[in-house]
């Protein structure tokens, strides 16, 4: 019955049905997309917030500065500590994967981590160094601003 009914339907009604089907499909797909984005996202936290809130097994994106004297190469991995920009709590991160060129002590980094015991394990290749040009100090001398 279905096919004959469809063929016999008048064209404007057909178009309406088609439009409704297409729109519902779009809405359905968009909802799936939106739902997964909220469930798959890693919250961005500072080290201090992370210590307070972290649950084991969940990913977090932590932003902070690399603590001076904390960087160590362990086998194929890299261990370092990250602290809030203003200092304060530092958390130890065990990281493997690509290390961006600008990475160094004192610089601001973003890394995705999971809590494992007292340590935080960095997700492979998730380390980003903020572009240093953003944090450049102004050159000495009197600035004559236009």
């Amino acid at each position: 019955m279905g096919l004959e009914y469809w063929v016999a339907m008048n064209p404007s009604r057909k178009r309406t049905v088609r439009l409704i089907v297409a729109l519902s499909a779009a809405v359905l797909l968009a909802s799936a997309l939106i739902y997964t984005s909220f469930s798959a996202a890693s919250p961005a936290l500072s080290p201090t917030q992370l210590v307070r809130q972290a649950q084991p097994g969940r990913s977090y994106q932590v932003t902070g500065t690399v603590v001076h004297g904390s960087v160590r190469h362990e086998g194929n991995g890299l261990d370092f500590s990250v602290a809030d920009r203003a200092g304060g709590t530092a958390i130890p991160v065990a990281y493997t994967g690509t290390v961006p060129d600008p990475f160094r002590e004192g610089r601001e980094v973003i890394v995705t981590v999971q809590k494992q015991g007292a340590r935080y394990v960095g997700e492979r290749d998730s380390l980003i160094t903020k572009c240093p040009s953003k944090y450049k100090t102004a050159p000495a001398g009197e600035k004559q601003n236009y």
């Binding site: 690509t98 961006p100 060129d101 980003i128 040009s133 236009y146």
Partner: protein, 720 residues
């Protein structure tokens, strides 16, 4: 010199304000002399901004550190080539580049339509000058490229070593040309809506600019990917970084527009859709600039402070509100003349391609701006990673490649079974053969790659068939030789066959993406001299260390001070394949506090990767040497204590010798990626196809000449 630049900016703003007033008055009253004057003010703007840009470029080349931007992003040790490119590495310089390119492209567009569509062009002039005024105001009130320091510092900070890569010269201007060109269709689209002249004229006028925007943006994106692959030291070409995404979004909607405009030209359909795409593309281009320049999202590219956020948000808000108002209020004029006859027709496939492209754009938009969206809804900033992007973009990309093979061969209006059999036999067969070969080769576990290879084979089949049939028909009609017939075929219909070549290039590019992402072997390994490791089927051995002091000019001329690396032997099954020498360059930090030796290597360290690129695979290597061993650090600290300021380099020599004598273990990154080169080859094919399509056709040139002579004759008659 700075004074000249400083005068240029307010002058340019005045020109913009005058031009906007004159054009709008001309358009509303129909007084041609005013709209003409408005158009000429765009030319004047181009001249003034050329002078301003010239002043800044000259300041960079002359090491005029009185200019703050020069002191911040250039130095005497920065090689000349990179000093010339450093202009657009700063916030201020890139705003000037934007405004300058906008004025140049706008002048060209308005010059080409100077005798047509006067009312539409007048509104477009006002809108383009509005963008110009916006960027010039930003420079005047927020980030002046011509602000100076007195007395001038003796030396500048230097260009960020990561940016010292040859494409730095061409990647930003390409990208910015793409962005600014995107605003031209937007201006004409809005102009057509404002003037209530939504016929095919405005589409015809901006078609070539939309294509040019698409092409420049595409080249810019590809050069960026290439830079990422060969300079950033992570070995990837795409990371779903916010700034990459920002440039991809207008490119996707632009691609959609280039297809759907054909339906409007041929069948008078999709008018609302087309004008919406044009407005969205222009707005996304502005948003892209905003994203790069505001530093609102975390990105490796976060260049600027947050100062430019508010003005950009206001501009984007105005653009979106104006777009929606114009489309809604003019919707009666934008009615389609025809309806979609069948879901099996070229129109429907084009529509499908549009939906896929817009869906891709939506996915990327959502993912890119998710940190802001999440903060607005949940109060915490959160971001989605590459796996989330991949989950949606991979199936959409597959669909897109498949549609790019179906589109060229399916019939307009309604495809019949006979038509389908005639046109789809060859493409389907080539996809099937590919599938069988791949399954026989035992790669069944990589479903995405297999599907992509089959889709690409389908495209190859359908495009080759089109070329073959066209050439055969010409040979039969004109009796031409094969190459002559082929060239004649393409020349007769550049847009169509250029487009086919683009499709082919995209398929090739995606083959490279699929192969390199699915069959890649990557190894991170710490090796001492003599040590070796396996990467896929290859064996890499650390033969010997290298260390050179490169005070002025290192091997790759980027201005590093010290270069430490390794010679690696790559072999496969015992047979030598290549000798590679990756290194890391150390740069002067310019900070005396680090000591006479310490500052020489205290700046940023940058990987100089080394790879053996081939048609079938790339072997890619990078090194992160360890210079923090006690022995090496002792040399630095002794040097700091004992050497005078200008002889620090002596200690670097000692350090290099010590490193060669007792090389510590170094961290290596090895990647073997198959078919990566096809990404770049595919890109070049796309570029070639794009150029074929955009080149003026002989018939168009002839038409223009004929029109001009007719106009002259008419003029003569009128005078007689």
């Amino acid at each position: 010199m700075a004074d000249l630049g400083r005068i240029c900016l307010p002058l340019a703003l005045l020109i913009c304000v005058y031009g906007i007033g004159a054009s709008i008055y001309g358009a509303r009253t129909g007084r041609i002399e005013f709209s003409d004057s408005g158009r000429r003010s765009v030319y004047a703007l181009a001249i003034v901004l050329t002078v301003a840009f010239g002043v800044l470029e000259l300041a960079f080349l002359r090491n005029d550190f009185a200019f703050n931007t020069v002191a911040d992003t250039s130095s005497r040790t920065t090689p000349t080539f990179y000093r010339a490119a450093a202009v657009w590495s700063s916030q201020e310089g890139s705003l000037l580049l934007w405004a300058w390119l906008l004025s140049l492209w706008s002048s060209l567009a308005l010059f080409l339509v100077r005798r047509r569509m006067r009312d539409v062009a007048a509104y477009a002039t006002a809108i383009l000058l509005g963008f110009g005024a916006f960027f010039i105001s930003l420079m005047i009130f927020y980030a002046s490229p011509f602000s100076t320091t007195n007395p001038a510092p003796a030396e500048g900070v230097g260009l960020d070593p990561l940016l010292r890569f040859p494409t730095m010269m061409i990647h930003p201007p390409m990208l910015y040309s793409g962005y600014t060109l995107c605003t031209i269709p937007l201006a004409f689209g809005m102009g057509a809506l404002l003037a209530r002249r939504v016929d095919a004229d405005w589409i015809k006028a901006i078609r070539r600019f939309a294509f040019a925007a698409w092409l420049f943006l595409g080249i810019g994106i590809l050069l960026g990917a290439r830079w990422s692959y060969s300079e950033l030291g992570w070995g990837g070409y795409w990371g779903w970084d916010a700034v990459e995404n920002a440039s991809l979004m207008p490119w996707l909607t632009g691609t959609a527009f280039l297809h759907s405009l054909m339906i409007q030209e041929k069948r008078g359909m999709l008018k609302v859709w087309n004008v919406s795409l044009v407005l969205a593309t222009g707005t996304l281009a502005i948003m892209g600039t905003f994203l790069v320049r505001s530093g609102i999202l975390n990105s490796i590219h976060a260049f600027g402070g947050a100062t430019l956020g508010v003005p950009f948000v206001v501009l984007i808000g105005i653009l979106i509100a104006a777009s929606i108002y114009l489309v809604v209020s003019r919707r009666d004029m934008l009615r389609s003349q025809h309806r979609l006859d069948s879901l099996l027709s070229r129109e429907a496939i084009f529509l499908g391609n549009n939906i896929v492209l817009v869906a891709l754009c939506f996915v990327i938009f959502w993912g890119t701006y998710f940190p802001l969206i999440s903060e607005a809804f949940t109060g915490t900033e959160a971001s989605v990673g590459p796996p989330w992007f991949d989950r949606y973009t991979v199936p959409l990309a597959l669909l897109l490649v498949l549609l790019s093979g179906i589109g060229p061969v399916i019939a307009w209006r309604r495809a019949t079974f006979a038509n389908a059999r005639r046109n789809f036999a060859v493409p389907l067969l080539s996809a099937l053969v590919t599938l069988v070969v791949l399954l026989a080769a035992g790669v069944a576990h990589k479903a995405f790659a297999i599907a992509m290879f089959c889709c690409a084979a389908f495209v190859l089949g359908s495009i080759s068939q089109e070329f073959f049939r066209g050439t055969r028909a010409r040979r039969a009609m004109a009796g031409e030789a094969l190459p002559v017939a082929l060239v004649a075929l393409v020349r007769r219909n550049r847009r169509r066959y250029g487009g086919y070549v683009v499709h082919l290039g995209i398929a090739v590019l995606f083959v490279g993406v699929a192969a390199s992402s699915s069959f890649q072997h990557a190894v991170e390994q710490r090796l001492s001299v003599g040590g070796s490791t396996h990467v896929g089927k290859y064996t890499v051995r650390y033969v010997r260390p290298t260390a050179t002091i490169t005070p002025k000019n290192d091997a790759v001329h980027t201005g590093s001070t010290l270069n430490i690396g390794a010679v690696l032997d790559v072999s496969k099954g015992g047979r030598h394949v290549a000798t590679l020498s990756p290194s890391e360059g150390f740069y002067d930090s310019g900070e005396p506090a680090q000591g006479t030796v310490g500052h020489l290597i205290g700046g940023q360290a940058v990987s100089h990767i080394s790879m053996s690129a081939g048609v079938t695979r790339d072997v890619w290597t990078a090194i992160a040497p360890d210079i923090s061993t006690p022995a090496l650090q002792r040399i630095v600290s002794i040097g700091n204590r004992t050497l005078p300021a200008d002889e620090g380099v002596v200690a670097l020599g000692v350090l290099a010798r010590e490193y060669l004598k007792h090389p510590p273990a170094a961290q290596f990154h090895f990647i073997v990626s198959p078919l990566v080169m096809w990404i770049w080859i595919g890109g070049l094919i796309v570029l070639g196809g794009g150029l074929i399509a955009i080149w003026p056709t002989p018939s168009a040139v002839r038409r223009r000449v004929a029109m001009r002579s007719r106009a002259r004759a008419a003029h003569g008659l009128a005078r007689a």
